[in-house]
Symmetry: C2
Subunit: 268 residues, 2 copies
Protein backbone atom coordinates (compact mmCIF):
# COMPACT_ATOMS: atom_id res chain seq x y z
CA UNK A 1 0.00 0.00 0.00
CA UNK A 2 2.82 2.40 0.89
CA UNK A 3 4.66 1.65 -2.36
CA UNK A 4 1.40 2.30 -4.24
CA UNK A 5 1.29 5.76 -2.74
CA UNK A 6 5.03 6.51 -3.02
CA UNK A 7 5.60 5.32 -6.57
CA UNK A 8 3.36 7.88 -8.31
CA UNK A 9 4.94 10.67 -6.29
CA UNK A 10 8.43 9.45 -7.20
CA UNK A 11 7.45 9.24 -10.87
CA UNK A 12 6.12 12.78 -10.82
CA UNK A 13 9.26 14.13 -9.18
CA UNK A 14 11.45 12.44 -11.78
CA UNK A 15 9.20 13.81 -14.53
CA UNK A 16 9.58 17.34 -13.24
CA UNK A 17 13.34 16.98 -13.15
CA UNK A 18 13.55 15.47 -16.62
CA UNK A 19 12.01 18.36 -18.51
CA UNK A 20 13.51 21.78 -19.01
CA UNK A 21 11.46 24.80 -17.99
CA UNK A 22 11.53 28.10 -19.84
CA UNK A 23 13.77 30.99 -19.11
CA UNK A 24 11.34 33.77 -18.39
CA UNK A 25 12.64 36.04 -21.11
CA UNK A 26 12.06 33.46 -23.83
CA UNK A 27 9.07 33.50 -26.18
CA UNK A 28 6.63 30.62 -25.94
CA UNK A 29 4.58 29.36 -28.90
CA UNK A 30 1.36 28.02 -27.36
CA UNK A 31 -1.11 26.08 -29.49
CA UNK A 32 -4.65 25.26 -28.40
CA UNK A 33 -6.79 22.78 -30.30
CA UNK A 34 -10.49 23.45 -30.69
CA UNK A 35 -13.11 21.20 -32.28
CA UNK A 36 -16.87 21.54 -32.58
CA UNK A 37 -18.27 20.38 -29.24
CA UNK A 38 -15.15 21.08 -27.18
CA UNK A 39 -15.74 21.70 -23.46
CA UNK A 40 -15.28 25.45 -22.96
CA UNK A 41 -13.54 25.52 -19.61
CA UNK A 42 -11.08 22.82 -20.72
CA UNK A 43 -9.53 25.53 -22.88
CA UNK A 44 -10.66 28.82 -21.41
CA UNK A 45 -9.70 28.07 -17.80
CA UNK A 46 -6.06 27.43 -18.76
CA UNK A 47 -6.23 30.15 -21.39
CA UNK A 48 -7.30 32.73 -18.80
CA UNK A 49 -4.18 31.89 -16.80
CA UNK A 50 -1.98 31.98 -19.92
CA UNK A 51 -3.63 35.27 -21.02
CA UNK A 52 -2.97 36.77 -17.63
CA UNK A 53 0.67 35.59 -17.85
CA UNK A 54 0.92 37.34 -21.23
CA UNK A 55 0.90 40.62 -19.32
CA UNK A 56 4.40 39.65 -18.16
CA UNK A 57 5.76 37.05 -20.56
CA UNK A 58 6.16 36.78 -24.32
CA UNK A 59 3.58 34.24 -25.48
CA UNK A 60 2.35 33.61 -29.03
CA UNK A 61 -1.03 31.89 -29.38
CA UNK A 62 -2.28 29.70 -32.24
CA UNK A 63 -5.88 28.49 -32.24
CA UNK A 64 -5.84 25.28 -34.26
CA UNK A 65 -8.75 23.29 -35.64
CA UNK A 66 -9.83 21.17 -38.58
CA UNK A 67 -10.00 24.37 -40.65
CA UNK A 68 -9.44 28.07 -40.17
CA UNK A 69 -12.61 29.84 -39.10
CA UNK A 70 -15.40 29.47 -36.56
CA UNK A 71 -15.52 26.60 -34.04
CA UNK A 72 -18.44 26.14 -31.67
CA UNK A 73 -18.73 24.43 -28.31
CA UNK A 74 -22.22 23.23 -29.28
CA UNK A 75 -22.18 19.45 -29.66
CA UNK A 76 -22.41 18.30 -33.30
CA UNK A 77 -25.11 15.78 -34.21
CA UNK A 78 -24.40 12.38 -32.70
CA UNK A 79 -25.63 8.90 -33.45
CA UNK A 80 -27.67 7.31 -30.72
CA UNK A 81 -27.62 3.69 -29.74
CA UNK A 82 -30.72 1.73 -30.75
CA UNK A 83 -33.24 1.73 -27.93
CA UNK A 84 -31.17 4.11 -25.79
CA UNK A 85 -32.07 7.71 -24.94
CA UNK A 86 -30.63 10.24 -27.41
CA UNK A 87 -27.06 11.25 -26.53
CA UNK A 88 -26.71 14.42 -24.47
CA UNK A 89 -25.81 17.55 -26.41
CA UNK A 90 -24.67 21.00 -25.43
CA UNK A 91 -26.98 23.37 -27.29
CA UNK A 92 -25.35 26.77 -26.70
CA UNK A 93 -21.87 28.00 -27.53
CA UNK A 94 -20.26 31.07 -29.08
CA UNK A 95 -18.17 30.76 -32.20
CA UNK A 96 -14.45 31.07 -31.60
CA UNK A 97 -12.16 31.69 -34.55
CA UNK A 98 -9.44 29.15 -35.32
CA UNK A 99 -6.39 30.93 -36.71
CA UNK A 100 -4.74 27.81 -38.12
CA UNK A 101 -5.67 24.37 -39.38
CA UNK A 102 -3.98 21.06 -38.67
CA UNK A 103 -2.26 21.54 -42.04
CA UNK A 104 -0.65 24.93 -41.43
CA UNK A 105 -0.13 25.42 -37.69
CA UNK A 106 3.24 27.02 -36.90
CA UNK A 107 5.99 25.41 -34.82
CA UNK A 108 4.78 24.97 -31.26
CA UNK A 109 6.44 24.73 -27.87
CA UNK A 110 3.30 23.70 -26.02
CA UNK A 111 0.10 22.10 -27.29
CA UNK A 112 -3.11 22.00 -25.21
CA UNK A 113 -5.89 19.56 -26.11
CA UNK A 114 -9.39 19.89 -24.61
CA UNK A 115 -12.05 17.27 -24.23
CA UNK A 116 -15.78 17.58 -24.74
CA UNK A 117 -18.72 15.72 -26.22
CA UNK A 118 -17.45 16.68 -29.67
CA UNK A 119 -14.79 13.98 -29.27
CA UNK A 120 -17.50 11.34 -29.44
CA UNK A 121 -18.97 12.87 -32.60
CA UNK A 122 -15.56 12.81 -34.31
CA UNK A 123 -14.99 9.19 -33.35
CA UNK A 124 -18.44 8.24 -34.61
CA UNK A 125 -17.52 9.75 -37.99
CA UNK A 126 -14.10 8.07 -38.04
CA UNK A 127 -12.41 11.48 -38.30
CA UNK A 128 -8.84 11.07 -37.04
CA UNK A 129 -7.24 14.27 -38.35
CA UNK A 130 -6.82 15.65 -34.83
CA UNK A 131 -5.01 12.52 -33.65
CA UNK A 132 -2.80 12.56 -36.76
CA UNK A 133 -1.86 16.18 -36.04
CA UNK A 134 -0.95 15.36 -32.45
CA UNK A 135 1.09 12.34 -33.49
CA UNK A 136 2.95 14.37 -36.11
CA UNK A 137 3.68 17.34 -33.86
CA UNK A 138 4.46 15.61 -30.59
CA UNK A 139 8.17 14.97 -31.31
CA UNK A 140 8.80 18.71 -31.73
CA UNK A 141 6.85 19.83 -28.69
CA UNK A 142 8.44 20.84 -25.41
CA UNK A 143 5.21 19.87 -23.63
CA UNK A 144 1.85 18.29 -24.40
CA UNK A 145 -1.02 19.19 -22.06
CA UNK A 146 -4.49 17.65 -22.09
CA UNK A 147 -7.60 18.46 -20.07
CA UNK A 148 -10.53 16.14 -19.52
CA UNK A 149 -11.12 13.66 -22.35
CA UNK A 150 -8.43 15.45 -24.36
CA UNK A 151 -6.23 12.62 -23.12
CA UNK A 152 -8.22 10.20 -25.26
CA UNK A 153 -7.02 12.16 -28.30
CA UNK A 154 -3.43 11.85 -27.09
CA UNK A 155 -3.95 8.15 -26.43
CA UNK A 156 -5.41 7.51 -29.88
CA UNK A 157 -2.49 9.46 -31.37
CA UNK A 158 -0.18 6.88 -29.80
CA UNK A 159 1.79 9.36 -27.68
CA UNK A 160 0.64 7.90 -24.36
CA UNK A 161 2.01 4.44 -25.10
CA UNK A 162 3.91 3.27 -22.04
CA UNK A 163 2.87 6.33 -20.10
CA UNK A 164 0.69 7.16 -17.12
CA UNK A 165 -2.24 9.52 -17.73
CA UNK A 166 -5.62 10.52 -16.38
CA UNK A 167 -8.87 12.01 -17.68
CA UNK A 168 -12.39 13.06 -16.78
CA UNK A 169 -13.69 10.72 -14.11
CA UNK A 170 -17.32 10.96 -15.26
CA UNK A 171 -16.29 9.47 -18.62
CA UNK A 172 -13.91 6.79 -17.37
CA UNK A 173 -15.49 3.85 -19.14
CA UNK A 174 -15.12 5.74 -22.43
CA UNK A 175 -11.58 6.88 -21.63
CA UNK A 176 -9.98 3.54 -20.83
CA UNK A 177 -10.88 2.07 -24.22
CA UNK A 178 -8.36 4.44 -25.81
CA UNK A 179 -4.69 3.91 -26.53
CA UNK A 180 -2.34 0.95 -26.30
CA UNK A 181 -0.32 0.23 -23.19
CA UNK A 182 -1.54 3.34 -21.37
CA UNK A 183 -1.58 3.27 -17.59
CA UNK A 184 -4.81 5.10 -16.88
CA UNK A 185 -4.52 6.48 -13.35
CA UNK A 186 -7.96 6.34 -11.68
CA UNK A 187 -7.24 8.72 -8.79
CA UNK A 188 -5.44 11.86 -9.87
CA UNK A 189 -6.38 15.52 -10.34
CA UNK A 190 -3.57 15.49 -12.91
CA UNK A 191 -0.63 13.26 -13.91
CA UNK A 192 2.82 14.18 -15.22
CA UNK A 193 4.80 11.65 -17.24
CA UNK A 194 7.85 13.08 -18.93
CA UNK A 195 6.73 16.09 -20.93
CA UNK A 196 3.07 15.04 -21.02
CA UNK A 197 0.65 16.49 -18.47
CA UNK A 198 -2.92 15.14 -18.42
CA UNK A 199 -5.66 16.40 -16.12
CA UNK A 200 -9.00 15.18 -14.89
CA UNK A 201 -12.19 16.87 -16.04
CA UNK A 202 -12.85 20.46 -16.93
CA UNK A 203 -12.07 22.51 -13.81
CA UNK A 204 -9.03 20.30 -13.10
CA UNK A 205 -7.40 22.00 -16.08
CA UNK A 206 -7.05 25.14 -13.95
CA UNK A 207 -5.22 23.27 -11.20
CA UNK A 208 -2.92 21.48 -13.65
CA UNK A 209 -2.18 24.72 -15.48
CA UNK A 210 -1.18 26.47 -12.26
CA UNK A 211 1.17 23.62 -11.40
CA UNK A 212 2.52 23.68 -14.95
CA UNK A 213 3.16 27.43 -14.89
CA UNK A 214 5.08 27.07 -11.61
CA UNK A 215 7.18 24.43 -13.38
CA UNK A 216 7.53 26.24 -16.70
CA UNK A 217 8.39 29.62 -15.23
CA UNK A 218 10.39 28.12 -12.37
CA UNK A 219 12.71 31.12 -12.36
CA UNK A 220 9.81 33.47 -11.61
CA UNK A 221 7.42 31.99 -9.05
CA UNK A 222 6.63 35.50 -7.87
CA UNK A 223 4.95 36.47 -11.13
CA UNK A 224 3.02 33.22 -11.44
CA UNK A 225 1.68 33.61 -7.91
CA UNK A 226 0.86 37.28 -8.43
CA UNK A 227 -1.12 36.29 -11.51
CA UNK A 228 -3.10 33.59 -9.64
CA UNK A 229 -4.06 36.09 -6.97
CA UNK A 230 -5.17 38.61 -9.61
CA UNK A 231 -7.58 35.98 -10.96
CA UNK A 232 -8.63 35.11 -7.40
CA UNK A 233 -8.25 31.38 -7.87
CA UNK A 234 -7.16 29.25 -4.91
CA UNK A 235 -5.97 26.11 -6.69
CA UNK A 236 -5.97 22.50 -5.67
CA UNK A 237 -2.24 21.88 -5.37
CA UNK A 238 -2.19 18.15 -4.58
CA UNK A 239 -2.36 16.17 -7.83
CA UNK A 240 -3.41 13.12 -5.83
CA UNK A 241 -6.62 14.73 -4.49
CA UNK A 242 -9.39 13.29 -6.59
CA UNK A 243 -12.78 13.49 -4.92
CA UNK A 244 -14.45 13.07 -8.29
CA UNK A 245 -12.96 9.60 -8.80
CA UNK A 246 -15.00 8.68 -5.72
CA UNK A 247 -18.11 10.61 -6.83
CA UNK A 248 -18.05 8.85 -10.19
CA UNK A 249 -17.18 5.44 -8.70
CA UNK A 250 -14.16 4.93 -10.91
CA UNK A 251 -12.86 1.34 -10.81
CA UNK A 252 -9.59 1.24 -8.91
CA UNK A 253 -10.05 4.70 -7.39
CA UNK A 254 -8.68 5.34 -3.91
CA UNK A 255 -11.99 5.19 -2.02
CA UNK A 256 -10.20 6.22 1.18
CA UNK A 257 -9.15 9.49 -0.41
CA UNK A 258 -10.60 12.71 0.94
CA UNK A 259 -13.68 14.29 -0.62
CA UNK A 260 -12.58 17.58 0.94
CA UNK A 261 -9.64 19.74 -0.09
CA UNK A 262 -8.68 22.88 1.79
CA UNK A 263 -7.39 25.60 -0.53
CA UNK A 264 -6.03 29.11 -0.13
CA UNK A 265 -4.38 31.83 -2.19
CA UNK A 266 -0.99 30.74 -3.48
CA UNK A 267 1.98 32.11 -1.62
CA UNK A 268 -0.02 32.36 1.62
CA UNK B 1 -19.65 43.27 15.48
CA UNK B 2 -22.32 40.59 15.57
CA UNK B 3 -24.83 42.85 13.76
CA UNK B 4 -22.13 43.54 11.16
CA UNK B 5 -21.91 39.83 10.47
CA UNK B 6 -25.64 39.10 10.67
CA UNK B 7 -26.92 41.97 8.57
CA UNK B 8 -25.31 40.93 5.27
CA UNK B 9 -26.58 37.38 5.75
CA UNK B 10 -30.10 38.66 6.47
CA UNK B 11 -29.96 40.88 3.38
CA UNK B 12 -28.90 37.98 1.20
CA UNK B 13 -31.67 35.75 2.52
CA UNK B 14 -34.27 38.43 1.82
CA UNK B 15 -32.81 38.91 -1.65
CA UNK B 16 -33.12 35.23 -2.43
CA UNK B 17 -36.75 35.23 -1.30
CA UNK B 18 -37.64 38.36 -3.25
CA UNK B 19 -36.76 37.05 -6.71
CA UNK B 20 -38.58 34.35 -8.61
CA UNK B 21 -36.59 31.40 -9.88
CA UNK B 22 -37.33 29.62 -13.15
CA UNK B 23 -39.55 26.64 -13.60
CA UNK B 24 -37.21 24.09 -15.09
CA UNK B 25 -39.29 23.57 -18.22
CA UNK B 26 -39.17 27.26 -19.16
CA UNK B 27 -36.82 28.68 -21.77
CA UNK B 28 -34.19 31.15 -20.59
CA UNK B 29 -32.80 33.94 -22.76
CA UNK B 30 -29.22 34.45 -21.54
CA UNK B 31 -27.18 37.40 -22.78
CA UNK B 32 -23.44 37.73 -22.27
CA UNK B 33 -21.63 40.98 -22.96
CA UNK B 34 -18.16 40.89 -24.49
CA UNK B 35 -15.85 43.82 -25.17
CA UNK B 36 -12.28 43.95 -26.46
CA UNK B 37 -10.08 43.22 -23.46
CA UNK B 38 -12.68 41.30 -21.44
CA UNK B 39 -11.29 38.81 -18.92
CA UNK B 40 -11.86 35.37 -20.44
CA UNK B 41 -12.79 33.37 -17.36
CA UNK B 42 -15.25 36.06 -16.22
CA UNK B 43 -17.45 34.85 -19.07
CA UNK B 44 -16.23 31.38 -19.92
CA UNK B 45 -16.29 29.99 -16.39
CA UNK B 46 -19.99 30.80 -15.98
CA UNK B 47 -20.62 29.95 -19.62
CA UNK B 48 -19.17 26.47 -19.16
CA UNK B 49 -21.68 25.87 -16.37
CA UNK B 50 -24.54 27.33 -18.44
CA UNK B 51 -23.42 25.29 -21.48
CA UNK B 52 -23.39 22.15 -19.40
CA UNK B 53 -26.89 23.00 -18.10
CA UNK B 54 -28.04 23.34 -21.72
CA UNK B 55 -27.79 19.55 -21.96
CA UNK B 56 -30.86 19.50 -19.68
CA UNK B 57 -32.56 22.90 -19.90
CA UNK B 58 -33.79 25.15 -22.71
CA UNK B 59 -31.39 28.08 -22.88
CA UNK B 60 -30.96 30.60 -25.69
CA UNK B 61 -27.65 32.47 -25.82
CA UNK B 62 -26.95 35.92 -27.24
CA UNK B 63 -23.36 37.19 -27.42
CA UNK B 64 -23.64 40.97 -27.29
CA UNK B 65 -21.00 43.59 -28.00
CA UNK B 66 -20.47 47.03 -29.50
CA UNK B 67 -21.02 45.48 -32.93
CA UNK B 68 -21.70 42.08 -34.42
CA UNK B 69 -18.50 40.24 -35.23
CA UNK B 70 -15.18 39.36 -33.62
CA UNK B 71 -14.29 40.40 -30.08
CA UNK B 72 -10.88 39.71 -28.57
CA UNK B 73 -9.70 39.34 -25.00
CA UNK B 74 -6.45 41.10 -25.92
CA UNK B 75 -6.31 44.48 -24.20
CA UNK B 76 -6.84 47.43 -26.57
CA UNK B 77 -4.26 50.22 -26.57
CA UNK B 78 -4.36 52.19 -23.35
CA UNK B 79 -3.10 55.60 -22.36
CA UNK B 80 -0.39 55.61 -19.76
CA UNK B 81 0.04 58.12 -17.01
CA UNK B 82 2.94 60.53 -17.50
CA UNK B 83 6.04 59.18 -15.79
CA UNK B 84 4.37 55.89 -14.86
CA UNK B 85 5.19 52.47 -16.32
CA UNK B 86 3.05 51.57 -19.36
CA UNK B 87 -0.28 50.00 -18.37
CA UNK B 88 -0.37 46.21 -18.32
CA UNK B 89 -1.92 44.59 -21.36
CA UNK B 90 -3.03 41.08 -22.17
CA UNK B 91 -1.39 40.26 -25.51
CA UNK B 92 -3.07 36.97 -26.50
CA UNK B 93 -6.73 36.16 -27.04
CA UNK B 94 -8.85 34.30 -29.56
CA UNK B 95 -11.57 36.12 -31.45
CA UNK B 96 -15.08 35.26 -30.26
CA UNK B 97 -18.02 36.19 -32.47
CA UNK B 98 -20.66 38.55 -31.09
CA UNK B 99 -24.07 37.59 -32.46
CA UNK B 100 -25.77 40.87 -31.53
CA UNK B 101 -24.91 44.50 -30.90
CA UNK B 102 -26.16 46.77 -28.15
CA UNK B 103 -28.64 48.06 -30.74
CA UNK B 104 -30.31 44.79 -31.71
CA UNK B 105 -29.98 42.33 -28.83
CA UNK B 106 -33.17 40.32 -28.29
CA UNK B 107 -35.26 40.36 -25.10
CA UNK B 108 -33.24 38.89 -22.25
CA UNK B 109 -34.05 37.14 -19.00
CA UNK B 110 -30.50 37.21 -17.66
CA UNK B 111 -27.58 39.47 -18.57
CA UNK B 112 -23.96 38.65 -17.58
CA UNK B 113 -21.31 41.36 -17.62
CA UNK B 114 -17.59 40.51 -17.39
CA UNK B 115 -14.73 42.68 -16.29
CA UNK B 116 -11.26 42.95 -17.73
CA UNK B 117 -8.62 45.51 -18.60
CA UNK B 118 -10.71 46.49 -21.61
CA UNK B 119 -13.01 48.35 -19.22
CA UNK B 120 -10.25 50.84 -18.56
CA UNK B 121 -9.65 51.37 -22.27
CA UNK B 122 -13.35 52.11 -22.84
CA UNK B 123 -13.42 54.58 -19.97
CA UNK B 124 -10.30 56.31 -21.27
CA UNK B 125 -12.08 56.79 -24.61
CA UNK B 126 -15.29 58.00 -22.95
CA UNK B 127 -17.23 55.18 -24.62
CA UNK B 128 -20.38 54.59 -22.54
CA UNK B 129 -22.46 52.51 -24.96
CA UNK B 130 -22.14 49.43 -22.79
CA UNK B 131 -23.41 51.30 -19.71
CA UNK B 132 -26.27 52.78 -21.74
CA UNK B 133 -27.27 49.31 -22.90
CA UNK B 134 -27.26 47.97 -19.35
CA UNK B 135 -29.29 50.93 -18.08
CA UNK B 136 -31.84 50.53 -20.87
CA UNK B 137 -32.23 46.77 -20.49
CA UNK B 138 -32.10 46.39 -16.72
CA UNK B 139 -35.82 47.07 -16.10
CA UNK B 140 -36.81 44.11 -18.32
CA UNK B 141 -34.29 41.64 -16.91
CA UNK B 142 -35.14 38.93 -14.43
CA UNK B 143 -31.52 39.00 -13.22
CA UNK B 144 -28.33 40.97 -13.76
CA UNK B 145 -25.08 39.16 -13.02
CA UNK B 146 -21.61 40.70 -13.02
CA UNK B 147 -18.18 39.13 -12.54
CA UNK B 148 -15.05 40.98 -11.51
CA UNK B 149 -14.96 44.62 -12.60
CA UNK B 150 -18.16 44.03 -14.57
CA UNK B 151 -19.81 45.58 -11.53
CA UNK B 152 -18.20 48.91 -12.40
CA UNK B 153 -20.21 48.82 -15.66
CA UNK B 154 -23.39 48.18 -13.68
CA UNK B 155 -22.47 50.98 -11.26
CA UNK B 156 -21.81 53.47 -14.05
CA UNK B 157 -25.12 52.44 -15.63
CA UNK B 158 -26.82 53.58 -12.43
CA UNK B 159 -28.41 50.24 -11.61
CA UNK B 160 -26.43 49.75 -8.40
CA UNK B 161 -27.69 52.95 -6.81
CA UNK B 162 -28.75 52.14 -3.26
CA UNK B 163 -27.51 48.60 -3.58
CA UNK B 164 -24.77 46.44 -2.14
CA UNK B 165 -22.22 44.99 -4.56
CA UNK B 166 -18.70 43.66 -4.80
CA UNK B 167 -15.95 43.33 -7.40
CA UNK B 168 -12.39 42.20 -8.06
CA UNK B 169 -10.35 42.83 -4.93
CA UNK B 170 -7.12 43.48 -6.84
CA UNK B 171 -8.79 46.48 -8.51
CA UNK B 172 -10.61 47.87 -5.50
CA UNK B 173 -9.28 51.41 -5.71
CA UNK B 174 -10.55 51.59 -9.31
CA UNK B 175 -13.87 49.96 -8.46
CA UNK B 176 -15.02 52.21 -5.64
CA UNK B 177 -14.81 55.34 -7.78
CA UNK B 178 -17.80 54.03 -9.79
CA UNK B 179 -21.49 54.62 -9.23
CA UNK B 180 -23.51 56.83 -6.90
CA UNK B 181 -24.69 55.61 -3.52
CA UNK B 182 -23.30 52.09 -4.01
CA UNK B 183 -22.39 50.12 -0.92
CA UNK B 184 -19.21 48.42 -2.08
CA UNK B 185 -18.77 45.33 0.09
CA UNK B 186 -15.06 44.78 0.73
CA UNK B 187 -15.26 41.18 1.95
CA UNK B 188 -17.47 39.00 -0.22
CA UNK B 189 -16.92 36.26 -2.80
CA UNK B 190 -20.23 37.47 -4.20
CA UNK B 191 -23.15 39.69 -3.15
CA UNK B 192 -26.88 39.37 -3.90
CA UNK B 193 -29.08 42.45 -3.72
CA UNK B 194 -32.55 41.96 -5.14
CA UNK B 195 -32.12 40.61 -8.64
CA UNK B 196 -28.51 41.79 -9.00
CA UNK B 197 -25.68 39.37 -8.28
CA UNK B 198 -22.10 40.70 -8.33
CA UNK B 199 -19.01 38.58 -7.78
CA UNK B 200 -15.40 39.16 -6.90
CA UNK B 201 -12.70 38.60 -9.48
CA UNK B 202 -12.51 36.12 -12.29
CA UNK B 203 -12.69 32.66 -10.70
CA UNK B 204 -15.31 33.92 -8.23
CA UNK B 205 -17.71 33.98 -11.17
CA UNK B 206 -17.76 30.19 -11.08
CA UNK B 207 -18.78 30.14 -7.42
CA UNK B 208 -21.44 32.80 -7.90
CA UNK B 209 -22.81 31.02 -10.96
CA UNK B 210 -23.17 27.75 -9.07
CA UNK B 211 -25.05 29.52 -6.28
CA UNK B 212 -27.18 31.30 -8.88
CA UNK B 213 -28.04 28.08 -10.71
CA UNK B 214 -29.14 26.47 -7.43
CA UNK B 215 -31.40 29.50 -6.94
CA UNK B 216 -32.63 29.76 -10.53
CA UNK B 217 -33.37 26.06 -10.96
CA UNK B 218 -34.52 25.65 -7.39
CA UNK B 219 -37.00 22.97 -8.45
CA UNK B 220 -34.17 20.79 -9.80
CA UNK B 221 -31.15 20.81 -7.47
CA UNK B 222 -30.35 17.28 -8.60
CA UNK B 223 -29.54 18.34 -12.15
CA UNK B 224 -27.51 21.37 -11.08
CA UNK B 225 -25.42 19.22 -8.75
CA UNK B 226 -25.01 16.47 -11.35
CA UNK B 227 -23.71 19.12 -13.77
CA UNK B 228 -21.19 20.50 -11.24
CA UNK B 229 -19.81 17.02 -10.66
CA UNK B 230 -19.52 16.41 -14.40
CA UNK B 231 -17.31 19.52 -14.65
CA UNK B 232 -15.42 18.39 -11.54
CA UNK B 233 -15.63 21.75 -9.81
CA UNK B 234 -15.86 21.85 -6.01
CA UNK B 235 -17.20 25.37 -5.48
CA UNK B 236 -16.70 27.85 -2.70
CA UNK B 237 -20.23 27.94 -1.26
CA UNK B 238 -19.83 30.64 1.40
CA UNK B 239 -20.28 34.06 -0.19
CA UNK B 240 -18.58 35.62 2.82
CA UNK B 241 -15.29 33.76 2.31
CA UNK B 242 -12.97 36.30 0.76
CA UNK B 243 -9.30 35.46 1.21
CA UNK B 244 -8.45 37.75 -1.68
CA UNK B 245 -9.76 40.83 0.12
CA UNK B 246 -7.01 40.08 2.65
CA UNK B 247 -4.38 39.27 0.00
CA UNK B 248 -5.10 42.57 -1.76
CA UNK B 249 -5.35 44.56 1.49
CA UNK B 250 -8.75 45.97 0.67
CA UNK B 251 -9.75 48.84 3.00
CA UNK B 252 -12.49 47.66 5.34
CA UNK B 253 -11.92 43.98 4.60
CA UNK B 254 -12.48 41.46 7.38
CA UNK B 255 -8.84 40.81 8.23
CA UNK B 256 -9.90 38.08 10.67
CA UNK B 257 -11.51 36.13 7.86
CA UNK B 258 -10.02 32.80 6.87
CA UNK B 259 -7.50 32.52 4.05
CA UNK B 260 -8.43 28.85 3.78
CA UNK B 261 -11.67 27.40 2.47
CA UNK B 262 -12.39 23.68 2.51
CA UNK B 263 -14.38 22.57 -0.54
CA UNK B 264 -15.84 19.32 -1.80
CA UNK B 265 -18.09 18.03 -4.56
CA UNK B 266 -21.61 19.41 -4.24
CA UNK B 267 -24.16 17.06 -2.77
CA UNK B 268 -21.49 15.22 -0.76
Amino acid sequence: MIINKLLPRACMLLSYMATASAKSNESTSLGIILFDGYQPMDIWGPLDLWSSMSRYKDIQLSVISHKVGPVTSKTPPRKGNPGAPPPERVTIGPHVMATHSFDNAPPLDILLIPGGLGNRALEERGDTRMEEFVAARYPQLRYLLTVCTGSTTAASAGVLEGRRATSNKASWDFVVTHGKNVTWVPSARWVVDGNIWTSSGVAAGLDMTYAFLEHYYSDDHETVQKMMNLVEYAPHTDPHWDAFSIVHDVPGADKDGSLVDCVKPVGY
